[in-house]
Point group: C2
């Protein structure tokens, strides 16, 4: 999985801690965790296209959350960065070569079905967790994190 | 995900249909679905290392199942080909840069936890399905597949 998923999830939490009204540039979000700024910027643009972040122009510009964390699931962020495709891609090899059944197979391949059920369980779990659930857990584990973010990334 | 997962799963079913006692070469297994033989051979060797297949030497040599399909889970095959690592890899960026908490973080990162729960759901689903479950479903969907495999790959 693209490391941008980890970066994007952390950046969303950081933007929430800074405050939903304040925009932060990709360069400052990247510097906070020593990430490559240009590459993080690409991930943040993907979050904008997915409607998770808003891009703000001008001297006080940057990125801010487009909606509250409790309306963003972990799945939303993963799909924004990784795309909607399943990890397992069925290439229908059962229809190729001398072993192919005559005609086009009408029923789903049993192997694709087995892999698909696992993928569905993964997606269900990701969709059941909002970023606000993750934030609550993060604040339990690192109670000083929100203050640090506000001090280093906030302007207010 | 490596396309070898799809090939390996199909090859295991084909070996079961041929019969557990008969070995089939990588070249013949590959030709059955028009797969690149050298690359399929690499996947089959990985299945041997994982104890799923046995490699048989000699003129009647090749690969055969090391144990019955009901003792091989879909997870076993996926781990044999893809390795044991989670798709999401936490690089602990919360510990890097000016935002890092003092000292080493002792509690698991909340983001890694959220991704890990989804990964666990995926693994559970893959581990709950044996290749025999998949075979039963495959025979329901393609009742002529076992006969085709035996005719084209079998020697008995």
């Amino acid at each position: 999985m693209n490391e941008g998923v980890e970066w994007a999830l952390h950046s969303c939490l950081n933007l929430a801690w800074v405050g939903e009204e304040q925009a932060v540039t990709a360069a400052r979000l990247a510097a906070y965790h020593e990430l490559p700024s240009a590459y993080l910027n690409k991930q943040l643009q993907a979050l904008v296209r997915a409607g998770i972040l808003t891009s703000v122009c001008g001297p006080k510009g940057g990125f801010r959350l487009a909606r509250p964390l409790d309306r963003i699931t972990v799945m939303d962020v993963v799909v924004a960065i990784e795309g909607p495709d399943d990890a397992f891609r069925c290439t229908e090899i059962r229809g190729k070569g001398p072993g192919a059944a005559p005609g086009k197979p009408d029923a789903e391949c049993a192997i694709a079905g087995a892999m698909g059920r696992a993928e569905l369980a993964w997606r269900r779990e990701l969709a059941a967790q909002t970023l606000d659930d993750v934030r609550i857990q993060a604040e339990r584990q690192a109670p000083t994190a929100p203050d640090r973010v506000r001090r280093l990334l906030g302007t207010g």
